[in-house]
């Protein structure tokens, strides 16, 4: 993060050659190369990294996508695919000598089958637009990233995106039936089927979360679920972070899988309250938002059990949403947490790591320690139910030293996640942001397997190169800089 990327050194001849080749089948409006046209694509949601692409291609048909890829392959020009550019790990960071392939024009819902409970959509369809189209049939698409009004399903597939409701309904990988696309050579590929099962290896799971390294998605078949008729959220206050962490584990241990179970600490509730007016308890050290959904009777019973468990775990105050308006108001603060940080800090850096639930208190204590060590504030807003942390480090990007400290802070927190048996990403992907921490998470032999998978789809390394999986040389260099990048403990256990 915060790498000072040089102003691009465009190889003018290379650029002319690429533009000419693409213009043979793309209209003028679909090939951008002048600085004022390509500059808007210089970064995605991870704005600390910027690089202006050599050329931007905006194909409108699948045949054009196929030809863009085949053409770039023939010229040996690398390609970076991009959806809405809302990703937080820099997965769509362009290459100064590459083509940025925007899938933004693919905005059609091709088919919605309420009986089969599925929708076939183009990759540029927004996440929320699927649920909007399914609403008249009483259905919805479950994964709900915070950016769901803007982010696209193609990007969700690339990052295996999650959201508040993933605790109960699963991540993108659990809600997609089929992905179609093209390899960088322009070869058509299809993973999965409309049925619940498909013969052969589970390549669908491989494609989802592959961060645009294996294929460019051109069509996605998603699973739709019946919208629960009722939902209610309990807001519980705690005077101690450790107690709240234990409460989260207690809810799960009691056999309750809440539709959402979120935690916000006091710095986070105070920052968002001014902005969203959600009615949070600002005296509490932390609050939990615990949601139940289903049939009205089911919700009634589950909420009563949740309250019982939370009270036993030491909740100092509990408020229950009385109606839908209030429920949405309770969530409004949580959903607006990131923009609210913009009011109290020039910049913020949203991290993403996952830990076993039982280590929540310990890791939050560690983060507080890092706040003191680096002299930076770090409110916490996260998916407590599945142990997915989102510490928000507040800094000023105009101060190079703050940027450097933010980077070091984030690195230490991610490595702590690995040390307690967790992972360096819960739902944002690795991209360029966490590529060094991949060296902490995996051993060289494991990384080599990832590279072998990449080569099977893209032997020349032309599709989104330099993202997600570090080279062994990079890890060796990282290891030299970082003494504690030893092999992870509990190597025999799965990473959650």
């Amino acid at each position: 993060m915060g790498e000072a990327l040089p102003r691009r050194d465009v190889d003018a001849a290379r650029q002319r050659e690429t533009v000419r080749a693409l213009r043979e089948f793309l209209p003028a409006r679909a090939v951008l190369w002048e600085d004022e046209d390509t500059r808007p694509y210089e970064c995605d949601g991870l704005t600390a990294y910027r690089r202006v692409p050599m050329v931007v291609a905006l194909p409108e048909t699948e045949a054009q996508v196929q030809r863009v890829l085949a053409t770039c392959s023939a010229l040996g020009v690398p390609v970076v695919p991009r959806g809405a550019g809302t990703g937080l790990s820099g997965g769509a960071l362009p290459l100064g000598d590459g083509v940025l392939l925007s899938m933004a024009k693919f905005m059609r819902i091709l088919r919605l089958d309420p009986l089969a409970r599925l929708a076939v959509v183009q990759p540029g369809v927004r996440n929320a637009a699927i649920s909007e189209a399914a609403a008249p049939f009483g259905l919805f698409y479950a994964p709900d990233p915070s950016s769901q009004i803007a982010c696209t399903i193609g990007g969700n597939v690339a990052e295996n995106s999650g959201g508040v409701h993933c605790l109960k309904y699963g991540l993108t990988v659990h809600n997609v039936l089929r992905v179609k696309g093209y390899t960088v050579a322009g070869e058509a590929v299809s993973f999965g089927s409309e049925a619940l099962d498909a013969p052969g290896y589970d390549l669908l799971a491989l494609a989802i979360g592959s961060e645009g390294l294996l294929a460019v998605t051109t069509e996605v078949t998603v699973r739709l679920l019946p919208r629960p008729p009722a939902a209610r959220v309990v807001m519980a206050s705690f005077d101690d972070v450790q107690k709240a962490g234990d409460a989260v584990a207690a809810v799960i241990a009691a056999g309750i899988i809440p539709a959402g179970l979120e935690m916000m600490d006091r710095p986070a509730t105070r920052a968002t309250e001014e902005f969203a007016g959600a009615g949070y308890d600002l005296e509490a050290a932390v609050i939990l938002l615990c949601e139940s959904d289903g049939a009205p009777e089911e919700v009634e019973e589950e909420v009563a059990r949740m309250r019982e468990v939370l009270a036993r775990a030491g909740a100092t105050r509990m408020t229950e949403s009385r109606d839908e308006t209030e429920r949405l108001r309770f969530w409004s603060g949580r959903k607006a947490a990131f923009p609210a940080m913009g009011r109290i800090s020039p910049d913020y850096y949203c991290m993403d790591g996952t830990i076993p639930r039982r280590r929540l208190g310990e890791v939050l204590g560690f983060i507080a320690e890092m706040e003191r060590k680096y002299g930076l504030r770090c409110p916490n807003v996260f998916h407590a139910g599945d142990g997915n942390l989102h510490p928000l480090i507040l800094f000023d990007a105009n101060d190079a030293d703050q940027l450097r400290r933010t980077e070091a802070f984030a690195g230490e927190v991610l490595e702590k996640c690995v040390a307690v048996g967790g992972t360096i990403t819960g739902e944002h992907g690795v991209g360029v942001e966490k590529i060094d921490q991949m060296c902490v998470q995996f051993r060289p032999a494991e990384l080599e397997v990832f590279h072998a998978v990449k080569r099977a789809f893209d032997p020349r390394g032309l599709l989104n190169p330099g993202k997600a999986v570090p080279t062994l040389a990079r890890c060796a260099e990282f290891g030299r800089r970082h003494v504690h990048a030893a092999s992870a403990p509990h190597a025999d256990l799965p990473r959650f």
Binding site: H174, A249, R358, F496
Partner: protein, 114 residues
């Protein structure tokens, strides 16, 4: 049987280029093609390695009987949501994963891979 013993057996067979027929409890021998190759009994590599009910995650060795996994879960009011069929008393977790079979709840709760 330890993981090291299992690995040694596989290495040894690979060295001779001998095909292996992996077998847990043998409860699904009837399913799929005719079993071929030298029998590699993996049922001895068993036991639950880690289970914390608050994490909703259980780690067990491949040869662990499915019944053992299910009763450990049931003791904590938890279950395998995909309802794997056993097809006999010896069914193991490894065989369950290899066969990829799920029960009627699959439509709602997801399959084994989910």
């Amino acid at each position: 049987m330890t993981a090291a013993e299992l690995r040694e057996r596989i290495r040894e067979a690979a060295g001779r280029r001998a095909a292996l027929c992996l077998r847990g409890g043998g409860s699904k021998d009837f399913y799929g093609g005719e079993p071929r190759g030298e029998l590699l009994e993996a049922g001895g590599h068993r036991g639950i390695v880690d289970y914390d009910p608050t994490e909703l995650v259980l780690t067990a060795r491949g040869g662990t009987p499915l019944a053992e996994v299910e009763s450990a879960l049931a003791a904590q009011d938890q279950m395998l949501a995909f309802e794997p069929p056993h097809f006999g008393r010896g069914a193991t977790l490894g065989g369950c994963v290899a066969a990829g079979l799920s029960g009627p709840r699959r439509a709602a709760a997801g399959a084994l891979r989910d």
